[in-house]
């Protein structure tokens, strides 16, 4: 299927915060209260539209368990966006964010867009992390922030799409070198045709037009 861009994402965060459920809600529009724990990494994909352009998202959902870290780290490279997820009902998952962030920053390309997600917002009665705390953390570290519920689907679309918008804007601003696939972005076949109108101040990225 034709698309203008392909963005690669990675989803990270502690075990049990809902990474796989967010992905499933986003790709399949359903919630799975009980599921097999992720082993290593798993893959999902979906098409979205931004600014009238078809954008393909390819998403690596990683296992939260520490022992898999050496495997999952290699997926940071080549990701244009990261969803860093914690569980608003478990304070420890919020406390670990700094570690996750360090890990992400260390292993990814410096322009990677990171969206901080406080998941399980439907469980208000069990909340341990205030929304303001999430906002403050995001502000302090230059992240985008949303609270989501993979269960009710609240903000799930938005989380994935806003991340894509941010990446898209960065492309328009010329921040991303879209000819370097290690940045997690590819130009799609659809884009090749209307290339000139989209490139913004990118210079000489024409060459990538045909790839997919």
């Amino acid at each position: 299927m034709a698309y203008a861009y392909l963005f690669k994402y990675i989803i990270i965060g502690d075990t049990g915060v809902g990474k796989s459920c967010l992905l499933l809600q986003f790709t399949d529009k359903r919630f799975q209260p009980v599921h097999d724990l992720t082993i290593g990494v798993e893959f999902g994909a979906r098409m979205i539209t931004i600014d009238g352009k078809q954008i393909k998202l390819q998403i690596w959902d990683t296992a939260g368990q520490e022992s898999f870290r050496s495997i999952t780290r290699s997926y940071y490279r080549g990701a244009a966006g990261a969803l860093l997820v914690y569980d608003i009902t478990r304070r420890d998952t919020f406390n670990h964010l700094t570690t996750w962030l360090e890990d992400a920053r260390q292993h990814s390309n410096s322009n990677m867009v990171i969206m901080l997600i406080g998941n399980k917002s439907d469980l208000e009665s069990r909340r341990e992390v205030k929304k303001e705390e999430g906002e403050a953390f995001a502000r302090e570290h230059g992240l985008i922030f949303m609270e989501t519920s993979a269960k009710t689907a609240s903000n799930v679309e938005e989380a994935f799409i806003n991340t894509a918008k941010e990446i898209y804007e960065k492309i328009q601003e010329g921040v991303f070198d879209i000819n370097n696939e290690a940045n997690g972005i590819k130009i799609g076949p659809q884009h090749a045709a209307s290339n000139a109108t989209l490139t913004g101040n990118q210079g000489g990225q024409q060459a990538g037009g045909g790839c997919c």
Partner: protein, 482 residues
Amino acid sequence: MAAESSKQFWKRSAKLPGSIQPVYGAQHPPLDPRLTKNFIKERSKGNTLPLKNKKASSFHEFARNTSDAWDIGDDEDEDFSSSFQTLNSKVAKATAAQVLENHSKLRVKPERAQSALSEMPTNCKVIKSSSEAQLSRSPEDACVRNALHKQQSLPLRPIIPLVARISDQNASGAPPMTVREKTRLEKFRQLLSSHNTDLDELRKCSWPGVPREVRPVTWRLLSGYLPANKERRKLTLQRKREEYFGFIEQYYDSRNEENHQDTYRQIFERILFIWAIRHPASGYVQGINDLVTPFFVVFLSEHVEEDVENFDVTTLSQDVLRSIEADSFWCMSKLLDGIQDNYTFAQPGIQKKVKALEELVSRIDEQVHNHFRKYEVEYLQFAFRWMNNLLMRELPLRCTIRLWDTYQSEPEGFSHFHLYVCAAFLIKWRKEILDEEDFQGLLMLLQNLPTIHWGNEEIGLLLAEAYRLKYMFADAPNHYRR
């Protein structure tokens, strides 16, 4: 009738707690201070689980009791910090803690099995096609479907009916015994009852599959848990079982003083906990708990003939239950001894095997190999799980059990022969693979290979092909080094 009822048993019990996933491994850094802190903190949380004080007497009840468990923290670990102090190795502590933490997160597992099972029509007919499976409509059904999703599909691929994953038979049901099968069973009985069982002969006979009637004792022998000498077996079993429960007393008991209910979950938790305590160097890796399930189910099958439909683990005598638990522990330990580097820091065994798989495939099917390269599919992206979980996530449990008949008969079955099985498994899908024309399609396919209806026949073919590959390449590593 016996065959029929044991078939139903398989349906019922394959998704034991623990069966499914993650639990433990080499925790690194060895001691995570956060862990301790969390455990203590969790203690202060209200215990919302009725499970603790209530004896869950059946899978169903157990499931109900745990239905709210999925995102609750780890209330389970209430008494953990007290036992904590009694353990002497920090590393062991952390690893064991991880078992418990993960395990308690996993309490949901039996629920999944149960909800799936409770959706089955009472006659428990095997759902034969995915279209049939799709007919289910209730929300619970949806949930069951969803639960199968990981194994099954990202977008819309056929869903594996749980029964089909679990049943010990091909989806078509258990055929009556053929003359050949009767002869084989006779041969096994002879071997097993002889004064000194000829283990080489037993391996030879077991390679093509062990008849279910003699599988439990055969597995105990093949794994090296039981001695070949018939007279010594009884004593060995007694001693090993006592030894195991000695560990439990030493390390585990203090956690649950008030209540010793033997639910599936507890049994699995204990097995994994003790293993972790005794293997502080090993990784604490999700997936190891999967490896308990085949043993547990096989040893349980020895004692469950009737009324398996509503099988209630607490109806078994304490002795029987303890023996199943201890035997599962020892056999799983033997298995893990052979694949330890799969689960140590950075999982070098798995990395090595995935690399070897890649080399092997490049030699035996260049077209598939080049197809992957063309679309930038890396072997690690799909085969990591094949190695980490010994294909258990890719195959129905009945197939895993059949596979293990052979793995236990083959020298280095789990550590080495598995590689050839993975190669044969991959090539089995070559047509489907070559039909996919992009990265995404390939990954989706490889993550969700449709083995839903697989049974002994498919595994037999797979093993034959794996054997051929091994024969060609095993003793000539340069053959597959390009």
